[in-house]
């Protein structure tokens, strides 16, 4: 039962209290959420939570079922890194003076970063990538006197051709029609 990083995607209705309903399932089991990102997904009215958590597979499978059991949750899925394409975004704020003294081109080109804003006082870089890539740039900019740093939660899409929740929604739509025809 070795721990590894899992990604859970949860599709829900867009309603009050869902974050609480999902997070309590983790806290009850003393599981730490590593990152969390929530927004509307490609299907109108459906929201998607992307959660990463370090644990063992049986525990994560159990958690996914517990999440799915909540009434307002449509469907939840468990992924390992090889099953998804994922990304994080980070913003770095560095004193402009020290940026000018360094090799900006190397920072931008060498790390696939972008400059978002240049101000006489500070410069803001943006980088999207995997956790370790973002950390690498963090280490480099730290030497330049990094003033602020923020990193988003992981976002991910699966390698499957469609949103995984579509099947479920189709099935439920058929059920709804059957019930109405009864």
């Amino acid at each position: 039962m070795e721990n590894q990083l899992f990604t859970i995607s949860v599709f829900t209705e867009n309603q009050v209290s869902l974050l609480h309903q999902i997070s309590m399932i983790f806290s009850r089991r003393c599981l730490n959420i590593e990152s969390l990102s929530v927004s509307a997904c490609s299907i109108p009215g459906v929201h998607k939570f992307t959660i990463t958590c370090c644990s063992y597979r049986a525990m994560m499978e159990h958690v996914v079922k517990q999440i799915e059991k909540r009434i307002d949750v449509l469907k939840a899925f468990l992924h390992t890194d090889d099953e998804i394409v994922f990304q994080e975004v980070a913003l770095y704020k560095v004193p402009t003076a020290s940026v000018l003294e360094s090799n900006i081109e190397d920072i931008v080109r060498g790390n696939g970063a972008r400059v978002l804003e240049i101000h006489p006082e500070y410069t803001v870089f943006e980088k999207t990538g995997h956790t370790d890539e973002i950390t690498e740039l963090f280490d480099k900019l730290k030497v330049l006197g990094l003033r602020q740093f923020v990193r988003s939660g992981r976002i991910a899409v699966t390698k499957a051709p469609e949103e995984l929740v579509s099947d479920y929604l189709d099935r439920q739509e058929r059920r709804r029609q059957d019930i109405n025809n009864e």
Binding site: T12, E13, V16, S17, H20, Q21, M24, R28, E61, H62, K65, Q66, E68, K69, I71, D72, V73, L74, L169, R171, Q172, R175, R176, I179, N180
Partner: protein, 573 residues
């Protein structure tokens, strides 16, 4: 356009449209508009005033479990709502349909620590199937429809509707549409044909199959299907505590109670079986003991309406995601008729040992001072009601003895706090059960500890003349804890001796007939008087405090490692 009515009236009309005629509750500031409307509908809805909100919700649970209908409970905000928490958790653990309606402070005051404001939805989410706050009168009827649908479909459970006071007093049009579908919820999943045929093949090939019957059978009203399948394939049945009345006690294939204090036969043979068909049960740790030693030679087929139960504590080879009724009725035609006499008979050697070594000394007890044993009392009371009463228990030795020694003829006859083990459940649940099914006898077995946790509900019995028979198994101890102290804590009886009131006088103060039974010689006649009495009755029975529940599988042991008494493990020959 239809006329506008207050949110309170919308609530009450929606309850009536939902088929509700009985509610339990307790008023207070933020729910007063609802109580005021209720006053106009007393011909349609009967309100039972509990003496504590915990009593109200346990009564609603008893009502639901006996009648099969959702139980409704109403409370005020803050302390009223918080007093429901234990009952909601109890109902969640035991899959009991409860709709709890709580008052809430005015919307404008929410989040500002207003007088009697509690964050009800946040507190209740972990102990309910669903919870919602309503702030507008037009949202009340849809919330009620959704609440009842969620509470009573799929795996039933408790739901909360928290209604701000202004939503109760503001006006809206009333329109009621029952809820039959929620996009994010499928309480009636289809079973793939292939799963059914696989399950049938496994069962048809089995040499030593066993059925584990859980609460899901009672909930889905699948008793007939269970018995038909067991009989057709000659499969012995072991019952979980809450599954006990799903097959009559006297049925030759009913091999008794599973788990920690269950019968020897079904526990030993769980580990001999080659196939286990688990129906509407969740492999609770009190049933399985150490799961690493559980059913080592069995293929397990698990039927449950709640997909999150699959592989939760015990891995199954095949799971059928459906209600017990749907699954069993679809399996039945695929099952070959068979005789498995040798396997079925293999239970009897264990039954004989248990009868001889455990039950006899309990039932035919002879203590020198005439103090009685719980098993003996339960056995006699069960018999006095023709083994066909509804058993309600509290928690503790009284519960374990009564589920072991009480007998059942009809379904829906065993009401006990199984999952949460809530002391104080018994008295109000018995009251609710009797209100739910007035034509049946309801007998409560309760300890002196548990009775005092909700003893205020004697007031409900008094006010509403509820005919429940209360058998107080009074050992002047928190008996179950005492038993564990004796077995595992060197008989150090820390905080378990009880200094008790005079229960007979207490009952009399409520106008409830009562009798002390100090000595075994008085027992038979006292029971007869209790049965004959037309109305509630409390029998205060003098129980020997040394009495302990056996057999017992101590914590951390395998299901077949069973103590026959405090010193000796059972060694089957």
């Amino acid at each position: 356009m239809s006329e506008k009515i207050t949110g309170s009236e919308i609530l009450i009309r929606a309850l009536i449209d939902q088929g509700v005629d009985t509610v339990f509750g307790y008023p207070g500031g933020t729910i007063m508009p609802v109580y005021d409307r209720l006053y106009d509908f007393t011909d349609r809805i009967r309100h039972y005033l509990a003496r504590h909100e915990q009593g109200a919700i346990h009564a609603a649970e008893g009502f639901a479990r006996a009648s099969g209908k959702p139980g409704v409970v109403i409370a005020t905000s803050g302390p009223g709502a918080m007093n429901l928490t234990t009952g909601l958790n109890d109902a969640l653990m035991d899959s009991t349909p409860i709709v709890a309606i709580t008052g809430q402070v005015q919307s404008a005051l929410l989040g500002k620590d207003a007088f009697q404001e509690s964050d009800v939805v946040s507190v209740m989410l972990p102990v309910t199937k669903w919870a919602i706050q309503v702030r507008r009168p037009e949202d009340i009827a849809p919330a009620v429809a959704r609440a009842f649908y969620i509470a009573s479909s799929g795996r039933p459970g408790p739901v909360v509707i928290d209604i701000a006071k202004d939503a109760q007093t503001n006006m809206a049009e009333y329109k009621f549409e029952p809820c039959t579908f929620i996009r994010s919820y499928d309480p009636d999943p289809e079973i793939p044909e292939q799963v059914l045929s696989e399950a049938a093949a496994i069962l048809n090939e089995a040499k030593r199959p066993m059925i584990l019957a859980g609460h899901g059978i009672t909930i889905a009203k699948a008793e007939e299907e269970l018995i038909s399948l067991a009989e057709k394939a000659d499969i012995p049945v072991g019952c979980t505590m809450l599954g006990l009345s799903s097959i009559p006690s006297g049925h030759p294939l009913n091999k008794g109670l599973l788990g920690m204090h269950g019968n020897l036969g079904p526990n030993i043979n769980t580990n001999k079986a080659d196939v286990i068909l688990a129906v509407g049960m969740r492999f609770d740790d009190r049933v399985t003991g150490d799961t690493s030693k559980y059913a080592p030679s069995a293929k397990i087929i698990h039927i449950d309406i709640d997909a999150s139960e699959f592989d939760k504590t015990v891995k199954s080879n095949l799971h059928i995601h459906a209600s017990a009724k749907t699954a069993l009725s679809k399996l039945l035609p695929l099952i070959e008729p068979q005789k498995r006499s040798e396997w079925v008979d293999s239970f009897s050697q264990h039954e004989e040992v248990e009868s001889e070594r455990v039950m006899k000394r309990e039932i035919e007890a002879s203590t020198p001072d005439g103090k009685m044993l719980m098993g003996e009392v339960v056995n006699k009371v069960s018999e006095a009601f023709g083994h066909d009463a509804i058993l309600v228990t509290d928690v503790g030795q009284n519960q374990l003895f009564s589920v072991r020694y009480f007998k059942f003829k009809s379904p829906r006859s065993c009401i006990s706090s199984g999952g949460l083990g809530t002391m104080g459940f018994g008295l109000p649940a018995a009251i609710g059960a009797k209100i739910g099914v007035p034509y049946r006898n309801v007998v409560l077995f309760v300890g002196d500890g548990g009775l005092q946790m909700t003893i205020e509900e004697l007031g409900m019995i008094m006010e509403y003349n509820v005919n429940v028979k209360i058998v107080l198994l009074n050992n002047n101890f928190l008996g179950n804890v005492r038993q564990w102290q004796h077995l595992f804590f060197n008989s150090r009886y820390s905080a378990t001796p009880m200094v008790n009131p005079d229960f007979k006088t207490l009952a009399s103060a409520y106008g409830i007939a009562a009798e002390d039974v100090p000595h075994r010689d008085n027992l038979d006649e006292a029971i007869s008087r209790m049965v004959a009495h037309d109305g509630a009755f409390l029998l205060n029975v003098n129980i020997d405090e040394e009495d302990m529940v056996f057999p017992m599988t101590p914590g951390g042991h395998g299901v077949d490692e069973i103590l026959l008494n405090s010193k000796e493990y059972y060694k089957p020959v």
